[in-house]
């Protein structure tokens, strides 16, 4: 209907607005392709790539003419379509087994994606048709008045990971300025490596120094790991041992949960060496 109106109006401003609204409706290139397939009454398993590609490119052209920003995904899909189209032009070999033939169809991957996408689009529609709590249905989302005096034992805790990190982000946003330097990319990766080493040490009592570098040859990673080890040594949280000169470095936890004696001043000092 929108298109119909567009064609009947010369007023370019209106033209612009109407198309703008319409183009916004496509969630992405897959959505646009599904629309074109339906519009042309094509069999999704046997799409005419030349029709679809032609219309798809027309759409992109139109979007550009209307000065709409064309998201990168639309362009990527355009090149995929052109690629498929040119592959279709290559002579195909007839195979005896139809199954293998299907695999060779240059459209196969795209068809699979379109089918998959249309399924989730349908699933989204079914979700939107459900009765929603807070829209059609209502529950009591407050503590009953007779319970307000009961004191809660707060044993189990309920919180999501996302809330934790959002809390941290909020803190950093309002924390004193100087602390911002510490939060630069580099120091984050040191903190990350400290966490990783600590959690490795929770799993096993001993790690070899070389194991810490197994995952990456990235320079920053190695530097961050090394600084993390130094930091942990300085904090006396790990012990680094060597059996022989130039032998393997072994890393062990220095403290095993000294929760009981936090206040003793001179006592627990020699936990690490």
């Amino acid at each position: 209907m929108v298109r119909h109106q567009v064609e009947n109006h010369d007023n370019s401003e209106q033209y612009n607005t109407l198309y703008n609204v319409k183009l916004d409706k496509f969630e992405g290139p897959l959505d646009l392709l599904l629309y074109l397939i339906r519009k042309n009454e094509l069999d999704i398993y046997d799409i005419s790539i030349s029709i679809i590609t032609g219309q798809y490119l027309e759409y992109l052209k139109l979007m550009k003419e209307l000065n709409l920003e064309v998201a990168g995904e639309f362009l990527v899909m355009a090149s995929t379509l052109i690629q498929i189209k040119s592959n279709m032009l290559l002579p195909t070999r007839e195979e005896d087994h139809s199954g293998e033939e299907e695999e060779e169809d240059p459209r196969a991957e795209l068809v699979r994606r379109l089918l998959e996408y249309s399924r989730y689009k349908e699933a989204a529609l079914l979700l939107s048709e459900r009765k929603l709590l807070g829209r059609e249905l209502f529950a009591r989302s407050f503590p009953a008045p007779e319970l307000q005096t009961v004191e809660k034992s707060d044993e189990p805790l309920e919180v999501e990971l996302f809330e934790l990190i959002e809390a941290f982000r909020a803190i950093l946003a309002k924390a004193p300025r100087e602390s911002f330097h510490e939060v630069s990319a580099e120091s984050i990766s040191i903190a990350e490596r400290i966490n990783e080493i600590l959690s490795l040490l929770q799993e096993k009592e001993l790690i070899l120094f070389d194991e810490l570098f197994e995952n990456s040859l990235d320079r920053d990673y190695i530097v961050a790991t090394f600084l993390a080890v130094l930091e942990l040594c300085k904090l006396k949280m790990i012990r680094v041992r060597q059996q022989t000169q130039y032998g393997v470095l072994r890393i062990m936890p220095a403290v095993v949960e000294p929760v009981e004696e936090p206040r003793s001043e001179g006592g627990g000092d020699d936990v690490a060496t």
């Binding site: 209907m1 929108v2 298109r3 119909h4 319409k22 409706k25 496509f26 969630e27 992405g28 290139p29 897959l30 959505d31 646009l32 629309y35 339906r38 519009k39 009454e41 999704i44 998201a71 995904e73 899909m77 994606r113 089918l115 998959e116 996408y117 249309s118 399924r119 989730y120 689009k121 349908e122 699933a123 989204a124 529609l125 079914l126 979700l127 939107s128 048709e129 459900r130 009765k131 929603l132 709590l133 807070g134 829209r135 059609e136 249905l137 209502f138 529950a139 009591r140 989302s141 407050f142 503590p143 009953a144 007779e146 319970l147 999501e160 990971l161 996302f162 959002e166």
Partner: protein, 206 residues
């Protein structure tokens, strides 16, 4: 320990909680009673509340039981509590559907399935607590993986994830819808992207 006493207790407990109460939780509290007795007390209550003239229904959602107002009364309830109904955009619904069916899933996988960048939607869904971070995937780069929450089940009135229609059922529905559309709609008047989501089409399909 008569049945009516147990039913009364169950009614009180479910009523007083601001979140759905699971059978396990009921059994934990009503330790003097047997699991099967509790289960049938719940069933009996559900029957009683199922009568059409009641203003409250006992619903089974998010693996628990919760009293909820009857759907037809929604309009009046909205007048009372004056909340803005939360609504979902197409992209939010698509992303939510993908996560619901494919969890645990990474952002890259979502974006492959949708064909568009989805970082913003994922963030909004996290903020609305409809999805949560489940951890990290054991592949290079260790990307975050996402899944749906209990709130998702509560808001969409789902007992559990299994009560979502299967992808096969959805495929059939989708095929049906596509055929209908091709018959119903002449070329000149194409449905705009989303309009096949129209309620009318859906009802015809039933």
């Amino acid at each position: 320990m008569t049945t009516s006493r147990l039913k009364s207790l169950v009614e009180s407990l479910i009523f007083v909680s601001d979140t759905p109460v699971s059978l396990d939780r009921l059994c934990g509290i009503l330790e003097e009673y047997g699991r099967e007795d509790i289960r049938s007390a719940v069933a009996a209550l559900m029957d009683e509340y199922a009568q059409p003239e009641r203003g409250i229904a006992l619903a089974e959602v998010a693996k628990g039981y919760q009293f909820r107002t009857r759907e037809e009364n929604g309009e009046y309830v909205r007048r009372l509590i004056k909340i803005k109904a939360s609504r979902f955009s197409q992209s939010a619904l698509e992303t939510l559907a993908i996560i619901a069916y494919r969890q645990p899933i990474t952002r890259a996988e979502i974006e492959y399935l949708r064909g568009v960048d989805s970082g913003g939607v994922v963030k909004t869904l996290l903020e609305k607590k409809l999805i949560k971070i489940l951890g990290k995937k054991d592949i290079p780069g260790r990307p975050l993986i996402y899944g749906t929450t209990k709130e998702f089940l509560e808001i969409f009135s789902l007992r559990d994830l299994k009560s979502l229609p299967t992808l096969r059922e959805i495929e059939e529905l989708s095929a049906e819808r596509m055929n209908e559309q091709q018959e119903e709609l002449p070329l000149e008047d194409p449905p705009v992207g989303a309009s096949h989501g129209n309620g009318a089409v859906e009802r015809d399909g039933d």
